[in-house]
Symmetry: C2
Subunit: 143 residues, 2 copies
């Protein structure tokens, strides 16, 4: 998803397209990694000095509730990380360096159906993450 299409999506939903929002979307979109709100805030410092951290939070909330980004629950710390979107997918997180690999096939339908039958729940969402150590961290024996 390009910055433009994200912006277009926001406008379609009746939100204003401010330069702050553009800058935030650009930063997220330019990054290959998952970023915390304050990561994003830092990276904005040259693109839009003076922007408020509040605005970052508000924009992330807006984008998230519009389904335009995804979040990661990293390890025990429970901080939510963010990245540019890409449809339904899941994460493989390195506890050494924090690297996040996305994968898309979760193959959970069978399990989900069984749970629905057994419990009477209606299931609308799931969270699946693997944690471990990436190939680099294994080689370097660091982290």
């Amino acid at each position: 998803m390009t910055s433009k299409s994200i912006a277009a999506e926001l406008r379609k939903r009746g939100f204003k397209l401010t330069p702050q929002r553009r800058a935030i979307i650009d930063v997220i979109n330019e990054s290959e990694e998952h970023l915390t709100p304050s990561d994003i805030y830092s990276r904005l410092q040259h693109k839009y000095p003076g922007i408020g951290l509040v605005t970052v939070y508000r924009t992330l909330e807006l984008l998230e509730s519009s389904g335009l980004l995804c979040e990661v629950h990293i390890g025990d710390t429970c901080r939510s990380y963010l990245t540019r979107p890409g449809g339904h997918h899941h994460h493989l997180v390195c506890r050494g360096c924090g690297k996040v690999v996305d994968f898309t096939d979760c193959e959970l339908d069978g399990l989900e159906n069984r749970l629905v039958n057994e419990t009477g729940f209606e299931i609308d969402r799931h969270l699946l993450e693997f944690m471990g150590r990436c190939i680099n961290c294994r080689k370097n024996k660091k982290n």
Copy 2:
């Protein structure tokens, strides 16, 4: 796992068995639900008035790092909930009333192996949670 066996496990690891820790373990063990640290603190008020909330946190940390309890990441709020343990299992969480159903079979070995092969990661942990609405919340159309 009984309060006694949890206590025994702590002692085996060289930790002191204080009345505060006993009280905390009992509260967790007596509850059928997943509890937040402050839930636990509240319930301790008659069993051990005067106990410090800090002690609750420290004891939870101790129990968690010893693998004696589990935690839930509920919905977006990202607060970690706790409960009595019971081996490797996962959660089905109702977004209406907060009810948590445990289930044990995650059938993720195939997926995990494939990810290991494709990415070179070493995987040691996973997080799997389903979210939806429980049978009661569906009937009542409340929540």
